[in-house]
Chain length 457, copies 2
């Protein structure tokens, strides 16, 4: 699909000055998202609409001329959902940055280009909280969060992006703008279309406004750090903790991650530990009770060391170790970041299988996990200048997905399928679900202009 | 649409004995759900499959012969979603009653014919909780709950059915059975199709199995009852309460409801009160703190009387008043039960408007509400033997929906559109969203066999 330059000029003429950019130097910066696809497409133009009407103009034009449109938030996506395609356009929502907090309704009405952290800060000014907290909270757009149904660390108690989207305005492939849902905490009028678009990765429409549910700010959390001699012991503790309490955070680091962090920062972590759990409770007034249960569960599961603190500062110090993993690993080489989720009981089997894959493929794979959700981020570390090792790393990446599927898991818990994991989706979903997906896609986007190559091939 | 008797016999031959029932006396009991449509269709047969395979057989047959299929759970629906259609079949899931609790995953895998309360009880045996609690909890099926995305009293803190459905097996119009989602707390692989089917009211497929998320049992709740001289004062209290805490229940009864309950049961409620709020907190260990905030919010909003108790038994006594409303009103006449939801700040405007409509139409309208959600149940009380009054009642019912839409609300917060509210759906959604809905419906059910007349005309 492509359109002659004259048509791009016609589109530019329909839009405010500066909306359509064809400068190759600028375009270059919009070809990849954080998945860093080594072979991104070369788009014809970058289009930066300022309003829903602009987006309608763009899609009407693209639909008429059969031009591929890759919607893009802040470009922080990890699955290549915003990798540019040849001859298409990149539709960046970066200039759509309005934000309005409605305290009586406890909602935020935001345009897609606002960052997640900006939503959080605006809500906090009114004593309110927007919970979803992907690691990219400071750099990812709320539109991208909605398009991928982003998760994070607090999901284990507070849920994912979809749980907070009450309504949206979305522009369909033919340029029609529709309003779905609204500032209502319960609404079952008609099909649940709002939910269909959250996590649709830009293949069904372009979100131009979101109405988000906010909740009251939670009190500061208490923190437990526990070390284990095996991943199985840590997983046992996870099952036992979550059977009784709803922790606000329940993260796991494996042996390789602990050591990578220790190499990077000398935090004094026990290098012999096979697993570390980081648990927080923010139950107002009952954190002490919950923490007591967490400690007991960890000890019963055979923790070799358990440390607890009520001091939020000290707790933040511990979470720093968890948040350092990405940086620590980036020191060791190029990273392929996985996002497989399995049922919690098979977490140890997953980690054991990953270790076998790492051995087989002769690469390092570190595992950090939102363990309370069963959502793991195995990270394949390799030397990108070594073609053989790069090949082995990609093989390991694929085998981890295949293992997760075999264990009843999913290839992606929160990052999305994008282009990076597209080829494994049929293995997980099967032919019938793929056919159903394709029917809905074709029905809503008959000319296939919306993010072609993402999710579906 | 209809099929000759010989075809029904052919279907019966394909299914286990007793699955297909054509006895008119039995059929009569399956023509209406709890919306009590006075003009239900006369179906050709009632089919009670025992397995997903049976459902596939039924839908393959119905699709081939263009026979309308009305899926039916326990028949407790309030919007006519299971009203039978002429010449069609009623597909009752009442014999699909398996239930399995997985404690390690904290999930319940259930067939659609299991009652909501049976899921709750099975979970409770393992210290787990399935939160959604429609008033019909003892009589409604979990399949029907999923088909309507049922709500309830605890939604204000714990969310609706959709928030607890992790996966399902669903049979499509052509008889294809697909598995969507699964026992994974986070899963963004492919389009969010699980969410599309929750609340689809049987027009896209027939759910034959659900994987439900369970959470740990919550501690007993503390309770506050507050009386107000105006609905506005009560609504102010609602806004102020929910700005700081997340109550586990936040119910409102208006003047007419208070008096109907008092007529029925002599509980000693103040008959002069214009509004009553019933609030519960179950925050583990922090109920006292939350309750203190609730009391302060009620007093600041001008409550004329506030009573609080930590005693779960005493709290249950108060909730009895709320739960009595239905019975109390049924003593007064025939009921038309509304389910409109508005943004919380306009609750007083809604109640004032409803009072005007009641005056205009010369009928009694009582209002009870899940106030924390803005989800109200105005109940039009009338004498069904009086044709003129019946007509005025139906007009009042319609005008309440139109008022809710005008106030930015929805015609249904938790009961569904069914056949009862179908004609008002376009007014709320608008032409473009209706067209989008129709496209998805036609795409998934090209011959229109699934619950024709529900949601869409």
């Amino acid at each position: 699909m492509s359109a002659p330059d004259s048509d791009i000029a016609a589109l530019a003429a329909e839009l405010p000055d500066g909306t359509v950019i064809t400068d190759p130097a600028v375009i270059e910066g919009y070809r990849r998202d954080a998945a860093n696809d080594p072979h991104p497409g070369l788009p014809r133009a970058v289009v930066r609409p300022g309003s829903t009407e602009d987006v309608q103009t763009v899609l009407r034009w693209a639909n008429a001329h059969r031009v591929a449109v890759v919607p893009r938030g802040a470009g922080s996506g990890l699955s290549g959902g915003a990798t540019a395609v040849d001859g298409g356009i990149v539709l960046s929502t970066e200039r759509m940055r309005q934000i309005r907090i409605d305290t009586a309704n406890r909602t935020a009405v935001v345009q897609p280009g606002v960052l997640n952290s900006e939503v959080k800060r605006a809500a906090a000014e009114h004593g309110l909280w927007y919970p979803p907290d992907p690691a990219s909270v400071e750099i990812s757009s709320i539109g991208g969060n909605a398009a991928t149904n982003a998760g994070g660390l607090c999901c284990v108690k507070y849920g994912v992006t979809s749980d907070y989207v009450l309504g949206m305005q979305v522009v369909l492939a033919d340029g029609t703008a529709v309003r779905l849902g609204g500032p209502r905490l319960k609404d079952v009028a008609g099909l649940p279309l709002t939910k269909l678009f959250v996590g649709s990765e830009g293949i069904l429409g372009v979100i131009t406004e979101l109405t988000l549910r906010l909740i009251p700010v939670q009190p500061p959390a208490s923190t437990v750090v526990a070390l284990f001699g095996s991943v199985q012991d840590a997983a046992d503790a996870v099952v036992s903790i979550t059977a009784k309490v709803r922790p606000a955070m329940l993260e796991l680091m494996d042996h390789a991650s602990i050591n990578a962090v220790e190499d990077y920062s000398r935090m004094g972590l026990d290098r012999s530990a096979q697993a570390l759990l980081l648990i927080q409770s923010d139950a107002p007034g009952a954190a002490a009770e919950e923490i007591a249960h967490v400690i007991e569960a960890c000890e019963k599961a055979g923790a070799t060391e358990v440390f607890a603190t009520d001091d939020p500062e000290e707790g933040a110090g511990f979470t720093a170790a968890r948040r350092l993993v990405g940086l620590a690993l980036a020191q060791l080489g190029t990273l392929l970041l996985e996002d497989v989720t399995v049922p919690i009981p098979v977490l140890p089997e997953l980690v054991a299988g990953i270790n076998r894959i790492a051995d087989d493929c002769d690469v390092l794979i570190c595992v950090v996990a939102h363990a309370g959700d069963g959502n793991t981020h195995p990270v394949v570390v390799f030397d990108a200048t070594d073609p053989d090792m790069s090949d082995r790393a990609r093989r390991a990446f694929a085998r981890v997905m295949e293992l997760a599927i075999a264990l009843g898991g999913t290839i992606t818990g929160e990052h999305g399928v994008g282009r990076l994991k597209r080829d494994w989706l049929p293995l997980q979903l099967g032919d019938d679900v793929m056919a159903l997906t394709r029917r809905i896609k074709d029905d809503l986007d008959p000319h296939g202009i919306l993010n072609p190559g993402a999710v579906l091939s």
